[in-house]
Symmetry: C2
Subunit: 423 residues, 2 copies
Amino acid sequence: MRDKALASSRGWAIVESLTTEVGPRLAGTEADIRAVAWAQELLQSSNFDRVWTEPVSIPVWRRHHEQARVVSPYPQPLRITALGYSGSTDGEMTAEVIGFPSMKAFKQADADTVAGKIVFINRKMERHKQGAGYPPVSRMRYTVVPAAKEKGAKAALIRSVGTDSHRFPHTGASVRSDNPFPTAALSAPDADQLQRMLDRGVPVRLALDIRVSERAEGITHNVIAQLNGRENPEEIVLIGAHLDSWDLGTGALDDGAGVAITTAAAELISQLEQRPRRSIRLVLFGNEEQGLWGAKAYAKQHADELARHVIASESDFGAGLVWRFDSANPDLMSTAMTALAALNIEQGKKPSSGGPDIGPLQQQGVPVFRLQQDGSDYFDYHHTADDTLDKIDPEKLQQNIAAWSVVTWLAAELPSVKRTANE
Amino acid sequence: MRDKALASSRGWAIVESLTTEVGPRLAGTEADIRAVAWAQELLQSSNFDRVWTEPVSIPVWRRHHEQARVVSPYPQPLRITALGYSGSTDGEMTAEVIGFPSMKAFKQADADTVAGKIVFINRKMERHKQGAGYPPVSRMRYTVVPAAKEKGAKAALIRSVGTDSHRFPHTGASVRSDNPFPTAALSAPDADQLQRMLDRGVPVRLALDIRVSERAEGITHNVIAQLNGRENPEEIVLIGAHLDSWDLGTGALDDGAGVAITTAAAELISQLEQRPRRSIRLVLFGNEEQGLWGAKAYAKQHADELARHVIASESDFGAGLVWRFDSANPDLMSTAMTALAALNIEQGKKPSSGGPDIGPLQQQGVPVFRLQQDGSDYFDYHHTADDTLDKIDPEKLQQNIAAWSVVTWLAAELPSVKRTANE
Ligand SMILES: [Zn+2]
Ligand SMILES: [Zn+2]
Ligand SMILES: [Zn+2]
Ligand SMILES: [Zn+2]
């Protein structure tokens, strides 16, 4: 099955179809409706035993217009993108900029130096194979808002949370609040440009024009397909990805790759002569990008079944090669490694996480596994307009699918993979 | 002088200042006026013997709005940029797309299959060290217009003339005509996306919204600085770059690097104890991007002096390392190579060109030299929003300045560098 995956172009066909025929699919929008329909048709046309959807009620936040320019002393446009749940400026708003190298420095500033100004936090993200540089900086998308409000700032600009130096601002969710606050990210080159202006010691005035909207009662769906276990169908191995994407690119890496990897892996298992011991449930989660809405809804909807979820994992880290397998189950680990070693995958240990959408399950005690991918360049494209199909290497996608089909089948087959009392 | 250049950050300071304090500087716009003022101040504050400007009358073409989206079958936005001298669509215009792999294929198409449609030419540019892949494809920006008009097309879209696969459309001048035609470039990923849709054999309808304007009577300036020769001041060695840039990026590579390289080189020569034998004239040309307007004006304005221009060259190819020196003058070649070899520069031969703005001079018989740069990645950024300061490597800039200061000084000093009767 592993080798069949390495020779199959099914995974590429899936992500090619999703990114081309649907493209950008922001949660709750018309494109998201097409994404759900696309996923249903994909899974129904395959040989799963059951395919269904579950509704997820969500707010629908959308960007309509986002523009920034330096008014003085050096008039020129800057490239920005609003963060998720940002507020609108009231038409074009002009104010002086005050810059800080970090949130820590900003928190120490007294309010009167900040009041009425645009706050700019210029902190760079570090590049790491596993994306370790992301959490400390992505937190800033949230923490900057209350701090800026408190000090009377008129808007907040952050250096994009990303590791590239291209003119692509990176979007991403910020804090959702009753009085939304205009918050946007500058691309790295634009953050550098603004910093060079500030470093000249002259007051810099910017004009920001951000128009967004938010509709409280929106809806999206989790799309679910299942292979029924031949002996213990009530026990569930859950694998998944998220179907929504940000609106700037076509969501190829985030998370079209994950949709392709987990779907193609489940399909390979479905083509074996017999079903594995336990059920395998493939969940394409709705609205991960703006707060794990689909994942939280699934955990709530299936609260009574979570005890029967024996293990879970999500592919939501692009299409880099898998380099390590993490699991706390020694039998699953040793058995899987016999097949994974040939894929240059190292033996890992107990994983801290099974992926963003698996968090709500893990919190309820569901064990997780993790197929760690090399994400060295993931955050070059993450949440930008540049997240497009050409960024995916078909061979790396095949290696992911091979690994996922092996581990998922073993998780569903090995007697040792079950929920023990003390888990 | 060569080694002084290798240790100096003057070149970086010049391009940092131009791209930060002026930024994008489209010919004839307010930013262009600031660019000219910036250049005058830069050159006046240095130790040139004379600094002056010469007016250049130009049409002023500007982009105001450029947007494209797929209407059907797979609704989604596409990233485009209007080409220079493109016409406006009359508000948002919708039409079916017909695609061709090359201009050759398009020219063979019967008009009735093209009439009323948007023509899409999807030809890829090859990557070459010296940019040899550029001319055959960049020609398309011009030739597509008459062909599209002739076959009754409503607009023309080309795959960006560039070697990157990023969501950056590349702009560039197209043909200027009395009835301007809507012509734009798709980024490479968007061209691939559109091609994938067309390859599915379903009619694809696009909506194009391009709003541009053109003012016939505009003005820009060539900014010129001169070091007067100590013996034959009437003989002129001309070096230069172009001061204007496209409006999408800050014109760092194209041509802020060239401005920095040639200015810093001329400054190093001005700091020697004595002036060289001949005069050195540094020309920062206006409006190269939309048709060598400044260069043509210079050639006309100085028609009577061209016979005394002993040699000329322009730096307009980014900031890659110089790897070869081309000159038809054996004495200049052999003498220069004694200093250039240490900079890993090979000996070349008779150059075919001295740079875009030197063309009008060359046509009048002015000899040229060429310091060939490695342009392997130049067309990744060329005419895109991503042409920003961070793309320049300070050390490569220093190597360029070292080479230019040596060759320019020798051209102005060596007795052998003069206009012979048969040139
Ligand atoms: Zn994701
Ligand atoms: Zn994401
Ligand atoms: Zn140029
Ligand atoms: Zn150019």
